[in-house]
Symmetry: C3
């Protein structure tokens, strides 16, 4: 049976520091878990929230803004204690792993699974059901310094499907004081006063990490220049598992511009968490995968191979993952660009040599000239 | 008395294909009708939803995404059966006419009337009344490849007044992967996964039709290049009827740039649905109304006349409808542009010769140089 | 005890003209007051709404759009009468002072205090509490002809925290028919049909006043070119009082570009409402504070001083208020620009000479070159 200890009282009176993600994400998880757990067999007495509560007592790297929390939830987080069979996998020991989502290597292999489980439950939410209001009262700011309609709308859609609200900026670089010499950190300090979570796209590698170091609320990196795009990698992993049926033991060919594609960088990091994965890099010489990723894979014992032959890679792999080849990366050498477009783009010939069960994944860009 | 047959059960178990507009629009109509019908005399036993249900069994041109419907409404559409006196006029036989709103010629003369009737009911909705939540849970994406503050905000305002939510993009062409060579069709495939309906403005004629051919959700054309602007034409017809008191037998003068004005094209198509309408075209030579419209009107038996004298037209008509004259259409011939501005713009002189009951309609643009 | 007279009935039947702010703001105040007053001692029988009601009978400068009001609130404003000890300070006699917020000089010293009191109450609103829905059903349009992420999101965040909805435009000048020669007045006439209140940023001084002269709904000036930025000044006054503990008797140094900084103009107007304030102007010669402000201050008996020495000003003042120095204001004279940047920017040296209790206020811009 569920214990009667009161989680909310405990957090209200006893806590002065906490991982910042708690503020928004935890309340979401409380609501979510309350619903989800009703369907589960509840047999053991390990409380997920005992662990969560403990983690709140571990000093965060960042000082926690108690004042702001009080504004958001003056009565503490409204959870009821209950018991679950196992500690959820997004908790490692008593540490909460999702303060910010900055880069793919921050995840162990359990975190994506835990996220996909929540995602699957959320997909089942019915329009106008009580669960469709699970994020009611929460505000997400989408701070896009580079425009990206598809990525921005995907976050905003998710928020609104679950009852949350959005503050949106379509092109913050051009349309803001960034043009007037305002530092990213100062913008973040301002916008965190307006919202519960910030989803951010930026043109500079490392921008998301800088934002996270400043913010007292969670930051989700929706792409930072040539750096990373961890949520895209999560989605790609999810798609691969759904299409191929497994992640351990798969062979993945990354084809195209691997030097400037942040999604392939994040994907390579994430694939390294699985067993017996083999990665093939097939790219024009001028835009090869950078050494930091290759060294990381080697250090993690992940097999990888640089190939000059995309057709051969395609015939070997379970997944052929295309990135866009951009003309501007080739400078004056239009001839090299044209050659790359001819050779490193997944077309009918490439599809023709792929195995029957294999899949091609494409960003839907670069199809028109 | 209302019959007790359960519409929702029927749709849940029996249907695999349906016109796409059903998903969003029909549920709206269900809610709307439930309210509206309470005020009506209910004497005959023709059920509107019998017809609607039949139409769902007619295979759509597009394969219906059952999976997506299930997500949106896993329990089927929540309607209660009831009886109404007449089949609503937006149903022609058992076909539903508003899957997409792409061009004015898709309407018969009954559809605008049915739409205006709903619009009139919606105008009466009180703030914070139950009916102000009639679109709660629905998401509309406004995908504007060309910016247009007034048009975009009008759709968004309507959605929000009725409790719906909006995903917005102010300038999708500049701010999206369209700049990276992404095909419209692929963007539509992505955005339809986020939303229940897409309102779209595009710079190319025919873009709305291409989007509608791809999408499994309804597309509303809010202007596609020099093509059409059917919702503006609906609104114009509504305004004319309200101001003049009738549509049959009216005389309408279209004045200005008729070659590049999509609203005059849509309006001409729509006016052709009414009896004894006469249309005058008064424009500079270089921007005359195109032949396709003239031929369409002739084929429908609508009287029209090309006039070189806007003053004469103004003195004849019930409605003088101005379109903006754009300098860039005249190329090097600034002299012709200046002449056109002098002659084909509705000013005090034109207003002076108009009949007392007549009205001028103006886009509010081109007033400043 | 509370009287039983029905305010709502009175307004429904008796009123045909009213200050425009009533429509949105008053209903908010009704809701707010109902909550607030429950906590207050209610001893005298002066009804705030008696006064408000009277003011509704005073003909407004602008003709009131009854039709639109009916749409927004067909049953009249839903207030219950009650008694309060004193007439709220935002009422002067029986005149309502906040139809529009256009310029700082429209306020007396009581209005900011009344606004801060409401603001303080709103800051205490708990997520998902009934009071977090106090603006439910209301639509605010943010019409930004110049982009400003921080300012726009601050208004939108406030609206959404209190349950209201937003129609947003990030860059109306570039993305609208303003580029097609549409007059501001016509845009305002259109957008006021979509929303309950308009927050506007524009590049031209006086634009907000023009909008307010046109609109039947309240206009809030969120900055009009080099004109004013009254809500920023309100916030600045609020910050000064919170940090210094008083407003009467303070010494404020305005440092930087004072010719083009609208915030310093609004702040100077607002400071003139307080007793024994002294203002120092420290700026490069080419961007000195304009004479209209100096003359206004003199006419109101406010002491001010032009200083060539920012260090001396800093050592004298309670508040050192920095405005951004913009390169483009110096034309060809890059040497003067560099000199100004060296001398008129609050840096560690300036902070070093400031008194212990004094504070520096900075727009967070111009820190990067």
């Amino acid at each position: 049976m569920a214990s009667s200890s009161s989680f909310s009282t405990y957090t209200l009176h006893g806590v002065t520091v906490a991982p910042k993600a708690m503020k928004c994400y935890k309340e979401f998880m409380c609501n979510y878990m309350n619903i989800f757990m009703k369907k589960s067999v509840q047999s053991k007495s390990t409380s997920v929230f005992t662990d969560l509560t403990h983690s709140r007592l571990i000093p965060s790297e960042k000082s926690f803004k108690l004042e702001q929390t009080m504004r958001l939830s003056p009565r503490g987080i409204q959870c009821h204690a209950f018991e679950v069979e196992n500690t959820p996998s997004f908790l490692v020991g008593n540490k909460f792993q999702l303060d910010d989502v900055i880069e793919a290597q921050q995840f162990n292999r359990d975190i994506p699974n835990a996220i996909f489980e929540v995602a699957h439950e959320m997909e089942m939410v019915e329009k106008n059901s009580p669960r469709s209001q699970i994020l009611k009262g929460y505000l997400m700011a989408t701070l896009f310094y580079e425009p990206s309609t598809r990525t921005r709308l995907s976050f905003e859609s998710a928020m609104k499907w679950l009852g949350g609200e959005v503050l949106t900026t379509e092109n913050a670089r051009e349309f803001s004081s960034a043009a007037k010499g305002e530092m990213l950190e100062d913008t973040i300090r301002t916008v965190e006063g307006y919202s519960d979570i910030i989803v951010m796209r930026h043109s500079e590698s490392g921008a998301a990490r800088r934002a996270a170091a400043t913010a007292g609320i969670p930051i989700i990196n929706a792409g930072d220049g040539p750096g990373q795009h961890p949520t895209q990698a999560l989605l790609d992993i999810h798609t691969i598992e759904r299409e191929i049926g497994k992640l351990d033991g798969i062979k993945v060919g990354l084809v195209g511009d691997l030097a400037n594609g942040r999604t392939v960088r994040s994907l390579a990091y994430l694939l390294s968490k699985y067993q017996d994965v083999k990665i093939y890099f097939a790219s024009p010489d001028v835009v090869q995968m950078k050494d930091d990723i290759k060294e990381y894979l080697t250090s993690k014992g992940v097999e990888w191979e640089q190939s000059a032959n995309p057709m051969e890679v395609a015939s070997e792999c379970d997944v052929v993952y295309q990135t866009r080849i951009q003309r501007e990366r080739f400078g004056e050498r239009i001839d090299l660009y044209e050659e790359a477009r001819g050779k490193y783009i997944v077309d009918e010939d490439v599809l023709g040599v792929m195995q029957k069960h294999a899949v091609a994944m494409h960003p839907l860009q670069g199809l028109m000239r």
